[in-house]
C-alpha cells in the first residue's frame, strides 16, 4: 500500500498540485482575469457545447449499435464488433487525419446538383470538432452498454409482451431503465474524454480563436506565451474533469448498490 501511495503521489498528485498552486500565483483577481477573458470563455463554451452534443449523439447511436451487436446476427458481425474499439486503439492524431481524409479539404464527397452544392469539407468549422468527438467517444458508450444488454434477462421482455406491450413500449418501460446505468456510465466517460480531447481536433478544426478553438487547444497554445495564466485555465479544465470523474464514480456506485444485497 505504501508503494502504491508513493507512486501515485509522485506520478499524479504532485504534478496536479503544482498546477493548482501555480494558478494561485496571481491571487484570486489574477485567476479570474485569465479565466474570464473573452477568448478563454469562448473556448470553454465551445468545449462544453460540442462535448455535450457529441456525447448525446453517441449515447443514442452507441446504444443502437450495442443493441444491434447483441441482438442481431449477420455476416461480418464479429468484424464490426472489433472495429468499435478502433478509436480507442488509434492514436488521436491519426484519428484526426483519418477524419480529415473524408471530411477535409480534399474530400471526395463534393458535388453540385443544379444550384445545390454539397461539400463534406469540414475544415475550420465547428462541425469538424463535432465529428471528431463522435469518432473518439463511440467505443465508450458501446462497450458500456453491451455487457448490460448481454446480461439482461430476456424473460422480462417476454413478460411485458404477454401483458400487451408493443416493442417500443417494452423498450422504453422495461429495457431502458435497466440499461440506463450502463449508458450513463459510458456517457460520463465519453464526456470526460471529449472535454479533454486535443489530438483528433487540432488538425481539422484549424483552431481559430472564438470560432473553432476548444479549451484544451486554447491551453495548449497559451502555455508558450503565458505560463502563469495557463495554470488558471488548466484548473478550470481540471474542475470539469473532476466533475466528470465524480459522475463516473457516482454512476458506478449507483449501479453496484444492488450488488451487495
Amino acid at each position: 500500500m505504501g508503494f502504491v501511495t508513493t507512486f501515485l503521489l509522485v506520478i499524479v498528485v504532485l504534478p496536479i498540485a503544482a498546477v493548482v498552486w501555480r494558478s494561485t500565483g496571481e491571487g484570486w483577481s489574477g485567476f479570474w482575469e485569465v479565466v474570464s477573458s473573452p477568448q478563454a470563455v469562448a473556448a470553454f463554451k465551445l468545449t462544453l457545447i460540442t462535448s455535450t452534443l457529441a456525447v448525446l449523439t453517441t449515447a443514442v447511436f452507441g446504444t443502437i449499435i450495442a443493441w444491434v451487436l447483441v441482438r442481431d446476427s449477420f455476416a461480418g458481425k464479429s468484424v464490426v464488433n472489433a472495429i468499435i474499439d478502433l478509436p480507442f486503439a488509434l492514436p488521436t492524431i491519426v484519428a484526426g487525419l483519418v477524419i480529415m481524409a473524408l471530411y477535409g479539404p480534399r474530400t471526395p464527397l463534393e458535388f453540385t446538383v443544379g444550384s445545390f452544392h454539397f461539400d463534406a469539407n469540414l475544415t475550420f468549422t465547428r462541425g469538424a470538432i463535432y465529428v471528431a468527438l463522435l469518432f473518439v467517444t463511440l467505443p465508450f458508450v458501446v462497450r458500456a452498454v453491451q455487457p448490460v444488454l448481454i446480461e439482461f434477462d430476456r424473460e422480462l421482455e417476454d413478460a411485458a409482451r404477454s401483458l400487451g406491450a408493443g416493442p417500443f413500449a417494452t423498450f422504453r418501460r422495461v429495457v431502458l431503465p435497466v440499461i440506463l446505468p450502463g449508458i450513463l456510465s459510458g456517457v460520463a466517460m465519453a464526456f470526460a474524454r471529449a472535454v479533454g480531447e486535443i489530438g483528433a481536433i487540432v488538425l481539422i478544426a484549424g483552431n481559430l480563436p472564438f470560432k473553432t478553438e476548444v479549451a484544451s487547444i486554447h491551453l495548449f497554445y497559451r502555455i508558450e506565451q503565458d505560463p502563469a495564466g495557463s495554470a488558471a485555465i488548466a484548473v478550470v479544465l481540471l474542475l470539469i474533469s473532476f466533475t466528470a470523474l465524480m459522475g463516473i464514480g457516482a454512476v458506478r456506485w449507483y449501479v453496484t448498490r444492488h450488488d451487495h444485497g
Binding site: V68, P91, L97, L138, G199, A231
Partner: protein
Amino acid sequence: MGRLGLRFVALGYLVVILVGPLLMMVWRTTEDLDGAWAAITAPDTVSAFKLTLLVTVIAVAVNTVFGIVCALVIVRGNIPGRGFLNAFIDLPLALSPVIVGFSLVVLYGASGWLSWFTDHGFEIVYATPSIALATIFVTLPFVAREVVPTLREIGTEQEQAAQTLGATGWQTFWRITLPSIRWAVVYGVVLTAARAIGEFGAVAIVSGNIVGKTQTATLRVEDAYQFSYGNYAPAYGISFVLAATAILVLVTMILLQPKGAKH
C-alpha cells in the same frame, strides 16, 4: 423500428463516422506510395518510432508492476480507503492530456517544486524522461482496471489451499496468484501499449517537439502534416504505420478475449 431498420441505422452510422474515413485514409496513402515510403524511412521518422517504442516499453513495464500491486491492495488489502483508491486511479482517464503535460512542465520546469533535477543538469522537461513520465501518467489505470475484477472473481480459496500445502506468501503469489490473473494482465498490457503509442497532447507539451530528438511517432505525424505544404503523403504514410499497429493491437485484443478477458 424493425430489426433491419436498426441494423441499417447502426451500420450506416459506423460507415459515416468510422469506416468511411478509415478507408479514405488508406486510399489516400496508396495514391502516393513513394512519398509515403520516403517519409516512413526518413531518419527523423525512424528516430521518432524508436522513441515511441522506448517510452512505450517503459510505461508498460512500470504500470504493469503498479497495476498488479494496486489491484492486490484494492481487492485483498484490508486498508481503509481502498474504495477511494479504486476510483482515484481512474483520474488519468478523465484528465485532458494537455493538463498532464502542463502539470509536468510546472512541476519539473525552471521554477517548479521539483526543479532540483533540471538545476542539476538532469534533463527532465524537453527530454525523454518527461515523455516517459507523461506516458506513465496517462496509461496508469489500464492494467489495474483489468486485474481488479478478475482478482475479485477468483477469490482467495486457491491461495488458502497453497498456504495449507506449505507455500510462503511469495511462493503463493508467483505460483498461484500471478498465473491466475495472467490473461487480465496481458489484456491490460495491450491496452497500455496502445494508449502509450497513441499519446499526443501530453507529450506535445512536455517534449518541446524537437525534431529527431524528442519527437515521438505521433508528434512526427503532426509535424509532417503542418510542414507538408499540401502534400499529405508523408503524414498519411506515417499514420498508416501507426494505424496498422493499432489494428494489430485490436486483433490481439480479439484473440485474447475468449481466454477470460471480461468484455
